[in-house]
């Protein structure tokens, strides 16, 4: 296996999984948001909640479709790209992904049809159940896939014989040390991202003169949920960081740009990490702050990158900058959602066109932060695919660079085309906005399907 093929396999997988993760992030959040809207509708009898539901369920369907098709790709890419990984870890990872299919994918797919097309075919209670099952399915899916991923970061509950992992204790495998933190961090990330997307899209519609209650409900609920979730995410992120420091100190060293093991390590706000010289250029630092954050003691010791040979370090600039991007976007989300909630409380939000425009532009920041966060987590684990036990270079399939490069090119072309189409059709739905839902029978549309 030549190195080019390894790199190409990584780029391809990073691209397909990075593309995929955007859509589950949205569907995890939107499914729960739809459940909330349906409960509000059934509780209050206010038809505006139903039109809000119908509107967001169309965007949900779009995102869900993208998530399904890009997810099917991943379940087979473990074999096509990572044959070595799947052979070595299948005893551990296989059952977890199997349970994801059995508990989550079927649940989502089984009830999605009723949720989208079943309004006039099932009683209201059954429809609510269908929405709840889809929402539960999205969370269960995250549960299993994050259990599998977390095991790759903090493996336990196994023995390793002749290069193959054997499970000793499944409970230990699933509830491995980083799992609770990573699951909480990702679940809250999905909710926060979606809350902000809902608020941003509603803001854009208000700017276009749509002022019906369905739109205003979306704006208010999105903003307040984001304002509540953002500080929760800060706390979870901090706890997760402490967990990473305990189990993957080199990843933290790359995140912090810390080369030497130091007592009283500074917090590097900005720098250019130079891998050759093993030092930071143009660094702007706050003395002792990294030690304070990571050890809750200004003179606490933080492990540096030089404590391991260069071959055992991740790509430092990549991890370093991705981490800063994630944190920066987190600060933006917190600030915007708090200002918005304050304006909402003051009752002047709808008149603040400048702020609404800012909010609309902030909409995608959660998605970008999620991508940046996954780059930190996954690139930070390199050169390992299973931390400390299996190297990425030993995990690839016996496929040569040619087919991988060709399929990578095909994935890029197809996925970018899909993204353009997704945005175009989502934009069209947004331009049309929510439609009033009375109890009178709806006019027949020429086309049905998932429209």
């Amino acid at each position: 296996m030549d190195l080019d093929a390894v790199l190409l396999a990584r780029i391809q997988f990073a691209f397909t999984i990075g593309f995929h993760i955007l859509f589950p992030t949205l569907t995890i959040g939107l499914a729960s948001f739809l459940l909330l809207a349906e409960i509000r509708w059934l509780r209050t009898g206010d038809g505006e909640w139903k039109s809000l539901y119908r509107f967001w369920s169309k965007l949900f369907a779009l995102a869900f479709g993208m998530g399904v098709v890009s997810g099917v790709v991943l379940s087979y890419q473990l074999g096509t790209n990572w044959g070595g990984f799947s052979t070595a870890t299948s005893n551990v990872i296989g059952p977890l992904l199997g349970y994801e299919v059995l508990t989550a994918f079927f649940l989502e797919a089984g009830f999605l049809g009723i949720m989208l097309f079943g309004w006039n075919r099932v009683p209201r209670g059954v429809h609510l159940l269908a929405t709840a099952m889809v929402a539960l399915g999205t969370l269960l899916s995250a549960f299993w896939v994050l259990a599998a991923n977390s095991w790759m970061h903090t493996p336990q509950g196994h023995t390793l014989r002749d290069g193959i992992f054997y499970v000793v204790d499944f409970q230990a495998v699933i509830f491995n040390p980083s799992f609770p933190y990573r699951f909480a961090h990702m679940a809250v990330a999905s909710y926060l991202t979606t809350a902000l997307v809902v608020a941003a899209v509603s803001a854009a519609m208000i700017l276009r003169g749509r002022r019906e209650r369905a739109v205003r409900y979306g704006l208010a609920y999105g903003l307040v949920l984001a304002a509540l979730l953002a500080p929760v995410q800060v706390v979870i992120g901090d706890l997760h960081g402490l967990n990473v420091k305990q189990h993957q100190p080199i990843k933290v060293a790359a995140m912090e740009g810390l080369w030497e093991t130091t007592r009283g390590a500074p917090l590097v706000l900005f720098a250019w990490p130079d891998r050759e010289a093993e030092t930071n250029r143009y660094a702007i630092e706050i003395p002792k702050a990294a030690s304070l954050i990571l050890t809750h003691d200004p003179d606490g010791e933080v492990v540096g990158l030089r404590s391991v040979p260069p071959g055992d370090r991740p790509n430092v600039p990549l991890v370093f900058f991705a981490f800063r991007l994630m944190i920066g976007l987190g600060v933006i989300m917190l600030t915007v959602s708090w200002i918005g909630s304050w304006l909402l409380w003051r009752g002047t939000l709808l008149e603040r066109r400048g702020f609404l425009r800012l909010l609309a532009w902030t909409g995608p920041s959660g998605l970008v932060a999620v991508l940046a966060g996954w780059v930190v987590a996954e690139a930070g684990r390199q050169p390992w695919v299973v931390q400390g036990l299996l190297r990425t270079a030993d995990a690839v399939s016996p496929v040569t660079a040619g087919p991988i490069a060709a399929s990578l090119a095909a994935f890029i072309v197809v996925y970018l085309g899909l993204l353009v189409a997704f945005l175009a059709y989502a934009g069209k739905l947004v331009a049309r906005g929510p439609q009033a839902e009375g109890d009178t029978p709806e006019p027949k549309l020429q086309m049905a399907g998932r429209s």
């Binding site: 099917v72 059995l102 189409a421």
Partner: protein, 335 residues
């Protein structure tokens, strides 16, 4: 240890069950995509797509279960088969992506609708072709040394595999057309009836070719079928297949609605059984058995618990969903 011997057999049956369900359920909705360009009118295309819109992603989930089950229960087979058939698998995945998003995009598009018509039809057809090539490569055998695939990137591209690929396309199209006979009425139903007859002949041709070609080029498979007394025990398979084909031909001539679909499913299951007989007990023919490829027993048991508890539940709510969307489908059905 009995358990260690038996578990791979149980898992082989579980995966065979998932693949059979996949082939039948996604088979009819891929078949609709294959028939799509030939549909009599635009309105009929809407109806065809609507007939599978609420169920297609549940159908495709069986493919994911097949993949995840293979990965969990027979990891060596998973990595060998997917390495050996890298190109058709990737083509299948991309094709499934294109036809899958067409369900979402087509009804929202106006000027660009023809683009999603093409994506749906070409994606469905390519996915079926690619699956047929993988099937052929699997039957024909994969070169393995020390648990790793040692062949080239294009070993799957052979005349035999081309036959299985065309056979699968015809088979899916037959499933799709008999599904339409059941779910539609009027002109589209009549059209589907005519197409189904032609497709049935094509399917029988390909089944016959593959059934003869396989034992001729593989001595072990010939011995399995033609050695005495196997010949006696296995003779019902071709006999029942022929009977079902005859019943289907007659059912298409009469005004039967559900029977053609069920008979086509029967044909698929029998072909599947025939393959099973030929290839048992190999996870990767011609050498790696299901015992060679099996995961550790503890992992197989852990996931088997889930399968036993959850598959009945999944079948129940899937059946409920089909029941909710029962009856004939029109262009504006799901409001």
């Amino acid at each position: 240890m009995i358990q260690a011997d038996l578990l791979p057999v149980i898992w082989a049956l579980v995966i065979a069950f998932a693949i059979a369900l996949y082939v039948i359920m996604d088979g009819f909705d891929l078949g609709i995509g294959i028939l799509f360009p030939f549909a009599p009118s635009h309105a009929d295309r809407d109806t065809m797509m609507n007939s599978v819109a609420p169920v297609w992603d549940g159908n495709e989930t069986w493919l994911v279960l097949g993949g995840a089950g293979l990965f969990a229960a027979f990891p060596l087979a998973y990595s060998v088969i997917l390495s050996a058939t890298y190109i058709p698998i990737i083509v299948m995945l991309l094709a499934l992506v294109l036809r899958g998003v067409a369900f979402e995009f087509r009804f929202k598009a106006e000027k660009s609708r023809f683009l999603w018509d093409i994506a749906f039809a070409a994606g469905s057809t390519l996915a079926a072709l690619a699956q047929g090539f993988v099937l052929g490569a699997f039957i024909d055998g994969i070169r393995v040394i020390d648990g790793r695939f040692v062949g080239g990137a294009f070993e799957w591209l052979t005349p035999f595999n081309g036959m299985t690929a065309l056979g699968l396309v015809a088979g899916y199209a037959l499933l799709g057309s008999t599904w339409l006979i059941w779910k539609t009425e009027g002109g589209l139903q009549r059209w589907s009836r005519q197409r189904a007859r032609v497709l049935l002949l094509a399917v029988l041709f390909f089944v016959a070719v593959v059934s003869l070609w396989t034992p001729l080029s593989h001595e072990a498979i010939a011995a399995r079928w033609f050695a005495w007394p196997n010949l006696l025990y296995l003779s019902p398979v071709p006999v029942v297949t022929g009977t079902l084909a005859l019943l289907l031909w007659r059912g298409l001539g009469q005004e039967r609605e559900l029977a053609p679909f069920l008979l086509t499913i029967g044909l698929f299951l029998l072909s599947f059984l025939g393959l099973g007989i030929s290839l048992w007990p190999y996870a990767v023919p011609p050498e790696m058995t299901i015992w060679d490829a099996a995961a550790q027993p503890e992992s197989q048991i852990f996931m088997l618990v889930g399968v036993v508890l959850l598959i009945p539940l999944i079948l129940a709510y899937t059946a409920y969903s089909y029941w909710v969307f029962r009856g004939k489908v029109g262009g504006d059905f799901y409001r």
